[in-house]
């Protein structure tokens, strides 16, 4: 077998190695000890796959391709090192969008190439091209809308208007009709361009009615779409590597979407179509918690006494803590408490941050060791033996109404059961509500003490008071 005969086989074998590395890499990403190596293995797999593709006979345009790779690498590397950890959801959102755009462009470019060669286009080929454009286009614009909402460029509240769902349905029907026309006459360019535009509009239409609080679900779902888009592009160019990698990513995105939905007690259908948090919200919850009820407020000195003389403290960080950039200050407080013999743990709700696992990354950045971070299922049975639960910038995820108040919009959502601890201290700016718009009945309970103020400021005061004990 000579070189030219071996080359195609060698390329396919390289793909097989790369696909295996992706699978092993993802597997190792499942444990904190091996996660970094897993990511590196996947990166090596990608490198092998790219080099193998460059060796394909049809690839001759090396200068321009390598220029593109260099430009992309520089932009990607700068973005990766500059991004703040609080902005990870936006970053993943943008990257999803770019991946989707690349997949859609591959489908479009391949179609153009086949059309200009005057080769006959089979219906199956055309259908894969349509799917590639649809999924890629929706991923692109959907991700950018999600980015806009997370970054605060677009309003976080769901954007709803009359006849929204009929209009979306109409758009989808128009897309399907256009697809049929396209399969009958692929050379009809206005129809082809119309399909591209329709898929881009669909992406916007799918994400604008979803509220900022639901973005963890949306980001997970778009992550899944970006994988499916790559798989669709793989069908278009008939490349197994794209199909396998795309399917793996599609599966991981769906699993995470499912986990997020469960953590919020919502179905994916409800997240996508309900416009949650726009009008409902306030009704049921606030009625059950009357305005005559009062809260007990304490100052940092009293708070420090309770924390310093406790045996066990559980800290419940919410996104409010991250926004206030208080995680390093919190870590100082915890170090001080631990040096005094207090047992401290962190309880992390699955939707504590803006994307799955976001809070864990933010605390890891503040040098909190990961064995101290407890998942909801692990920590809930421990609250009964906890002296003080310290809630910093979290709200809906600790509202006991989720357990018993059937009229509450968050009824049924799994929560951190801080009301079972002996005392709860809530650090909060004021009496504002969380994403759901519901007042939190925890704040009005006898054993709950409110510490009003900005998270960073209050935690710093607590730390200095604890030091003086």
């Amino acid at each position: 077998m000579n070189w030219t005969e071996f080359l195609p086989t060698g390329i396919q074998l390289s793909y097989l190695v790369a696909a295996s590395l992706f699978i092993v890499g993802l597997k190792q990403l499942g444990s904190p000890a091996s996660a970094r190596r897993g990511n590196q293995l996947a990166a090596v797999g990608m490198l092998i796959a790219v080099v193998a593709t460059l060796l394909e006979q049809q690839v001759l345009n090396y200068t321009l391709i390598l220029a593109g790779v260099v430009i992309g690498s520089v932009i990607g590397a700068i973005a990766a090192y500059r991004v703040a950890m609080t902005a990870m959801p936006q970053m993943v959102g943008i990257f999803n969008g770019l991946g989707g755009a690349a997949s859609a462009l591959v489908a479009i470019a391949e179609f153009w190439r086949l059309l200009s060669l005057d080769l006959p286009l089979s219906t199956t080929a055309l259908i894969t091209i349509i799917l590639g454009i649809l999924i890629g286009g929706v991923t692109l614009t959907g991700s950018f809308v999600a980015f806009g909402k997370l970054q605060g460029i677009l309003p976080g509240a769901p954007l709803l208007f009359p006849l929204q769902q009929p209009l979306n349905a109409l758009l989808l029907v128009a897309f399907l009709v256009g697809s049929v026309f396209f399969c009958i006459d692929p050379s009809n360019l206005p129809v082809f361009l119309g399909l591209i535009v329709a898929s881009l509009i669909l992406g916007v239409a799918v994400v604008i009615p979803i509220g900022g609080g639901d973005m963890p679900v949306v980001i997970s779902l778009l992550n899944s779409y970006s994988g499916l888009a790559a798989a669709a592009a793989g069908f278009v160019v008939n490349n197994n590597m794209l199909i396998i990698a795309g399917a793996l990513v599609g599966a991981s995105g769906i699993i995470l979407t499912n986990i997020m939905c469960k953590a919020m007690n919502r179905s994916i259908f409800n997240v996508l179509f309900a416009g949650f948090g726009s009008e409902g919200g306030s009704g049921g919850g606030s009625a059950s918690v009357g305005t005559q009820q009062t809260v007990k407020s304490i100052d940092p000195e009293e708070g420090a006494m309770m924390l310093g003389y406790a045996r066990s403290v559980v800290i419940i960080p919410g996104y409010g803590m991250a926004v206030a950039q208080a995680q390093h200050t919190v870590k100082e407080l915890v170090d001080q408490l631990e040096s005094m013999g207090v047992e401290v743990k962190y309880a992390i709700h699955p939707v504590a941050g803006r994307m799955p696992g976001h809070m864990n990354v933010l605390l890891a950045e503040a040098n909190v060791p990961y064995p101290q971070l407890c998942d909801m299922d692990d920590i809930n049975p421990q609250f009964e033996q906890t002296d003080v639960a310290l809630i910093i910038g979290a709200n809906d995820v600790v509202n006991p109404a989720a357990r018993h108040d059937k009229s509450s919009p968050i009824y049924g959502m799994p929560i951190l059961e801080v009301d079972k601890a002996k005392h709860a201290i809530v650090i909060k700016r004021g009496m504002g509500t969380g994403f759901s718009g519901v007042q939190n009945e925890l704040f009005f309970q006898d054993k709950t003490l409110m510490l009003f103020g900005g998270a960073k400021d209050v935690v710093a005061k607590l730390t200095s008071e604890v030091k003086q004990l």
Binding site: G68, F95, L98, E110, G246, L248, M355, L373, D375
Partner: protein, 93 residues
Amino acid sequence: MTTATLITCLFVFVLASFVGFEVINKVPPTLHTPLMSGANAISGIAVLGAILVSGALGWNISIALGLIAVVLATINVVGGFLVTDRMLLMFKK
């Protein structure tokens, strides 16, 4: 694309999806963000397709679109793997 190749592709897609579900199902919540950004980097695999469609010499619309796709997908790949590595470096015992 013939129906036979489509079927082969479908087999690969469905089986790989099952592998994905099995491999990823048991990831602890601590690692969900790195998992997502790592998976995100893998979805930049579209760069292979981009290289294939922009491979010919000369200039036409296909090649131009393919080259744009090369840049976008590479940002996705390189940025995704590097930021995941940066995050995982922070996870300490």
